[in-house]
């Protein structure tokens, strides 16, 4: 397939393909972080994760409309405001959902699956009633469009770079929160041994609520970021949910590092295979490999070793 190309052409294509893999990696990390926190740390299978992401996307849409109408001069910077708003709104809704629904279901993991699936249907229909069934177009500031030319052939999409930066900084923030803060210490204590954590005075119900809110808020940030690369419609969240679960389960449910490693593995495998095979075949092969590895290591790549 490479007949008749000069080596410099090939080099630049491979450079761009590497970039494509990295940008898929950052998308996966963003999608999966929120879910990994909720699923991994709390054991709740949140089927409405995609809908929380779309809530973030709609928040971005509304913010962009607001800036266009009232603050056109600041339009170039609206995206940062939108991301903060998306985080706040989604985590507020997450806390509410946890209080109304999830906290009653902690000992019934399969029921959380059904309940959150129902929630996802309710949220989809709510979006449809409020924003209409059609997808909405989110206007992006001019500086985010287009590509950044390194050489004549190598052009890096600016929005891809931007998603990478967001993914990286979110991952670092989550790491610091989980492993370098008092809150994180409490979360890990509750995950490892709930009764003992409660015995030493940790408010485990409060920790649960904050964790669910944090996961939902990160989903909101992801949703805001994805308005740059994907569609914003009532059922767009469905497109992400399968990949998200795949990344989290493959990485090992309780390990955030595992999530990141698995996102890297899956994204590189997929984008490399997409280049040499057709898109559908690449997906099939990726899934096959993941299924194979999960058969050998049912706990995922990086399972947390706990005494049962």
């Amino acid at each position: 397939m490479f007949d008749g190309y000069t080596s410099s052409e090939l080099m630049s294509i491979f450079a761009m393909q590497g970039f494509a893999g990295l940008s898929l990696f950052s998308v996966f990390v963003l999608m999966a972080l929120g879910l990994a926190i909720i699923f991994g740390q709390m054991g709740v299978i949140n089927m409405a994760h995609g809908e929380f992401m779309i809530l973030g996307a709609y928040t971005t849409y509304l913010t962009s409309g607001f800036f266009q109408l009232y603050l056109p001069g600041l339009f170039g910077g609206y995206f940062f405001v939108a991301m903060i708003l998306a985080f706040l709104i989604c985590s507020a809704l997450g806390a509410l959902v946890e209080w109304l629904m999830i906290r009653h279901l902690y000992h019934r993991p399969l029921d959380t699956l059904l309940a959150t699936w129902g929630l996802s249907l309710i949220m989809q229909q709510a979006y449809r009633s409020i924003f209409g069934a059609r997808e909405v177009g989110v206007d992006l500031p001019e500086w985010m469009m287009g590509a950044f030319s390194v050489t004549d052939l190598v052009e890096l999409p600016i929005n891809g770079l931007f998603v990478m930066i967001i993914a990286l900084s979110t991952a670092v923030a989550v790491y610091l929160l989980m492993y370098r803060s008092g809150y994180g210490k409490k979360v890990r204590a509750v995950v490892q041994n709930r009764p003992m954590a409660e015995a030493v005075g940790v408010n485990s119900a409060g920790i649960d609520r904050a964790t669910f809110a944090l996961g939902s808020g990160i989903a909101g940030i992801a949703g805001a970021a994805f308005t740059m690369i994907g569609s914003t419609g009532p059922s767009s969240g469905q497109a992400y949910i399968v990949d998200t679960f795949l990344v989290v389960v493959f990485g090992g449910a309780q390990s955030l590092i595992g999530t990141i490693v698995s996102a890297f593995g899956i994204s590189q495998a997929q984008s490399t295979m997409e280049f040499f095979l057709s898109g559908s075949m690449a997906k099939v092969l990726t899934l096959l490999v993941v299924v194979g590895i999960l058969m050998l290591r049912p706990e995922g790549l990086m399972a947390l070793k706990v005494r049962r």
Partner: protein, 422 residues
């Protein structure tokens, strides 16, 4: 239709008795048919199979998804069908009867389409069904509508390879959309190489098969053919492949949310479609889709369709104005929406030509039924139940509208079974 005597037919038969039996002879019905609408013909004559027809009304069914993932696409069709029905009623109805409709929701779920079509045919006894959008939903309705001998008016451009006696296809089958589009790219843009890209299901695959065959017949090359799962959102790899292969034309049939991702990522990768290097020719992006993608992301692409909202003819101006008045100024009208609008009008024309609501009598008169007030200009029903219509190429503008750059001189003949594809 029925072994069961439904309430609707029972009621209408009672009123029909007011006419002398001799009126029901062939001579009388011929006379009635030729005397246009001087007098409203009696229900017993125009409805011998127990459809929901009374002396003043006739009931039809509308069956689209208004919830679920397909609602995005199907709502435009519902709006167009309701508008057509309203306009027909305002102009006196069909055979002197006002149209009433029963609307059911297919909920983007194919078995639901089958169930609801059965309900419309058996319980509501509708005289026609306007509905379905995806091929999957049409295939789900097909056995039901054939079993109970109903008539479905199906609006979407689709892959062809079907010709049911119980369906009228008001959209284009694949060859009508594709052949003219490729010929245009070859003749006016000197295209030599093509890259075929689509979502992974029957319509893009069949369309690309037809496209590939036609391209090869012209002695030109397909340099890549590629499918992505529905809902796929990452197109960076294929964009790199396209950059490597440098085709003259990308022939795209990506659908749904993937569309948004594909065009946004093409734009982000530094592809400016207005340069036409490569030129992008799509058969899946109507004005409706552009609303979700954003006009700035598709500016410069070409689409091969039979209808664009910007078509400059008096019929279309009237249609667009009426549509916007009914549903708001920010509405856009895509190819399928216009095709859905044709359904009720073609049904009315057929009923009036047959002088009857009976499905079997309508079917006999279909061939040659024309609609001169069609927004797309003029259409005529072919004996294979598809429409003769023109194919047009439009170039997307940043405001989300298409500028028409080419239209076929003649009406394209529908050919649902092109040779070599059965």
């Amino acid at each position: 239709m029925g072994t069961t005597d439904t309430t609707a037919s029972g009621r209408s038969f009672g009123k029909g008795l007011g006419f002398r039996k001799s009126l029901m002879t062939l001579a009388a019905s011929v006379m009635l048919a030729t005397s246009a609408q001087a007098a409203t013909p009696g229900t017993a004559e125009v409805n011998t199979t127990g459809l929901a027809v009374t002396d003043d009304t006739v009931t039809v069914g509308i069956l689209h998804s208004i919830t679920g993932t397909m609602a995005i696409s199907e709502i435009g069709s519902v709006q167009a069908e309701k508008l057509a029905i309203k306009q027909i009623n305002a102009s006196g109805g069909v055979l002197g009867r006002q149209i009433e409709f029963v609307q059911e929701d297919g909920a983007s779920d194919w078995p639901t389409f089958a169930e609801k079509s059965r309900k419309l045919l058996r319980q509501d006894n509708v005289a026609a069904i306007f509905g379905a959008w995806t091929s999957a939903s049409r295939k789900a309705i097909l056995p039901v509508i054939e079993q109970y001998n109903g008539m479905l008016y199906y609006p979407t451009f689709y892959e062809g390879l079907e010709q049911s006696p119980n369906v009228v296809y008001t959209g284009q089958e694949a060859t009508q959309q594709i052949l003219a589009g490729i010929d245009w790219a070859v003749e006016t843009k000197a295209a030599k190489t093509f890259y075929l890209l689509g979502s992974d299901y029957i319509w893009p695959r069949t369309s690309n098969k037809i496209a590939r065959k036609h391209i090869n017949k012209l002695g030109l090359n397909v340099v890549g053919e590629e499918y992505y799962p529905l809902g796929h959102t990452q197109f960076n790899s294929v964009i790199n492949k396209i950059k490597l292969k440098k085709p003259d034309v990308i022939f795209a049939s990506v659908v749904g949310g993937s569309n948004v991702a594909f065009y946004k990522q093409m734009k982000a990768a530094g592809v400016d479609f207005t340069d036409e290097k490569p030129l992008l020719l799509t058969i899946s992006v109507t004005e409706d889709e552009i609303r979700g993608i954003g006009g700035e992301n598709v500016e410069g692409i070409y689409a091969s369709m039979k209808y664009f909202q910007s078509l400059d003819n008096p019929n279309n101006k009237e249609f667009v104005a009426a549509f916007k008045e009914a549903y708001g100024d920010d509405m856009v009208i895509g190819d399928v929406t216009q095709a859905a609008y044709l359904g009720p009008w073609l049904w009315k024309a057929a009923v009036e030509k047959a002088g009857s609501f009976d499905i079997d009598k309508i079917r006999e008169v279909f061939a040659g039924i024309e609609f001169t007030r069609a927004p797309e200009g003029y259409v005529r029903i072919h004996e294979n139940h598809h429409l003769w219509s023109k194919t047009r190429i439009g170039q997307a503008q940043s405001d989300g509208q298409y500028k028409v750059v080419y239209e076929t001189e003649e009406l394209m003949e529908p050919d649902p079974f092109p040779e070599g594809y059965q």
